[in-house]
Symmetry: C2
Subunit: 308 residues, 2 copies
């Protein structure tokens, strides 16, 4: 029995920013989600695949964060998924320099028996066929959250729509929401996406925060304005990890809980971008998160007396 099942890539990333660059470092959607969620009291497991070139050091790092890797398939003589990108000066846009699917190309996910009875499933960005296969292998799930990207909207729209119809929550960025629906207004786009299935629609706007839509209600979590963004890689996945980590640890899926969850998502994402890759998620302390919650509080909370 798990609180949170995470599906997504476990990868090598090579990142260039205007300020610095890395060789191959630990990356991937499931990695970022898992590390972010590890800051909540819960039992999590990852379903993913790597090659035999994936270092024991990274496996130990994830295990040390209490992430169950029984569902991490290691393909003998296979090579781990690799992504390389370069950020522009504004740190908001980037070019993909290289994508090597490697072991991801033929990945058939197998959900370990002990993961099948799980409260929350986070379907991180991956081929919709893999996401669907995972959903078919699990029971009694209380909440399924989906993340996706423009690549699947363009290349596998039918499969993607099938996944979308089966989930409770979708997290998607603003440009993708527009592409998926043909609506420029995010309010209209969210309504169209909700019509496809999900009760909750979370539209991520990067440095401009995130919008949560539920029935006729809206909630907004700002991104914390930062002096410096060091590396935006994984910010969206970290948001998803904070979001689902909070929900899985609280076992509460009300609109009020969802509001707190997007604040926690924004909170963790604001740390993620402060260092390269997963570095900041690893050295992050609970006190840091609480202090930053106070910042989110003072950033957004006001009191206007309407009877004035």
């Amino acid at each position: 029995m798990k609180d949170l099942l995470i599906v997504g890539t476990v990868a090598f990333d090579a990142i260039e920013t205007p300020f610095s660059q890395t060789d191959k470092i630990l990356g991937g959607a499931a990695t970022y989600i898992g590390l972010a969620a590890s800051h909540f009291p819960l039992r999590s497991g990852i379903v993913s695949v790597v090659g035999s070139d994936f270092p024991q050091e990274y496996i130990d790092l994830l295990k040390d964060r209490n992430i169950d890797l029984k569902g991490l398939e290691i393909v003998e003589d296979g090579k781990t998924f690799f992504w390389s990108g370069r950020y522009h000066n504004d740190m908001n846009t980037r070019d993909t320099l290289d994508t090597q699917l490697n072991v991801l190309a033929d990945f058939q996910p197998r959900v370990p028996k002990k993961f099948r009875d799980v409260k929350v499933v986070m379907l991180g960005n991956l081929h919709p066929a893999v996401q669907l296969s995972v959903l078919e292998q699990i029971d009694n799930t209380e909440l399924v959250v989906l993340d996706t990207m423009n690549f699947w909207i363009e290349s596998t729209p039918d499969l993607l729509h099938k996944v979308i119809s089966k989930v409770d929550v979708i997290t998607i960025n603003d440009e993708e929401a527009r592409e998926l629906t043909g609506e420029y207004s995010l309010v209209k786009a969210a309504r169209k996406i909700a019509d496809m299935g999900p009760d909750y629609v979370v539209i991520k706007k990067g440095e401009h925060g995130a919008l949560l839509f539920y029935e006729d209600e809206m909630f907004f979590a700002p991104a914390l304005p930062l002096e410096e963004v060091f590396d935006p890689t994984g910010a969206g996945d970290t948001f998803a990890g904070g979001f689902t980590g909070y929900l899985a640890s609280k076992d509460n899926y009300s609109f009020e809980a969802m509001k707190n969850a997007v604040i926690y998502g924004a909170n963790l994402a604001s740390f993620s971008v402060e260092k390269f890759g997963t570095e900041r998620m690893i050295d992050l302390k609970e006190a840091d998160i609480k202090n930053r919650l106070e910042l989110f509080n003072s950033l957004t909370q006001f009191e206007i007396n309407l009877t004035d």
Copy 2:
């Protein structure tokens, strides 16, 4: 004795959007500011200039909103300032099609005696020399708020810096803040602008809301996510009118009051874009504003128990 003195253009605008277009309609920074501020209980006056082509109908409209036009110079045989622009499909960017300075070219502002003892001065977008001249003509002011634009940053930087050094609050949009300071990070830009003089720095991000900076504190007012934006013209000026209208009516210039003021600014701006030009500011009712404040409240307010 006035609560709010407004300096800025009173103009004709011709607007094209992807959906519709207007002939010459009422526009100008001082017009939008005055109409927005007229929704608060205060005595306001405008210092500006128009030509004799400016219709009595528009003068009556402003007077009906309780705006004192003693400081509105009417130049015999002169032509009123005219601006024309076309919005792109995203409604966030626009091209200026035509700018005719007309009577604005030689404008020497004269502040009427009864306006000189004023609580709040809103220096709307205009030549910094005009803004400085107005500041030299007034006494005992409790708060001076400045708005400007990239044109003055580029063409009259020294004069602009002189005005900035004399004001308590500056409202400026994100791209202008970056241009003025050479800093991409808005947190760093705000600090540099505060070093130039203002205690409070408000950075307007259009559809992404507005940030308020004061010493080491930050506050964020989201823009209300809308189904449709009909015409963004004057949204920034309407924001400034809601902001200064609230402050002048409350006679309170604390950080807490400034937070409420940016919420009121965002509130009124969210109405302004719903119709062409000043139309929505004119038919707006107090009940609409209060209902929308409730929306801002539910959009942003959350409660996380940190001791959980």
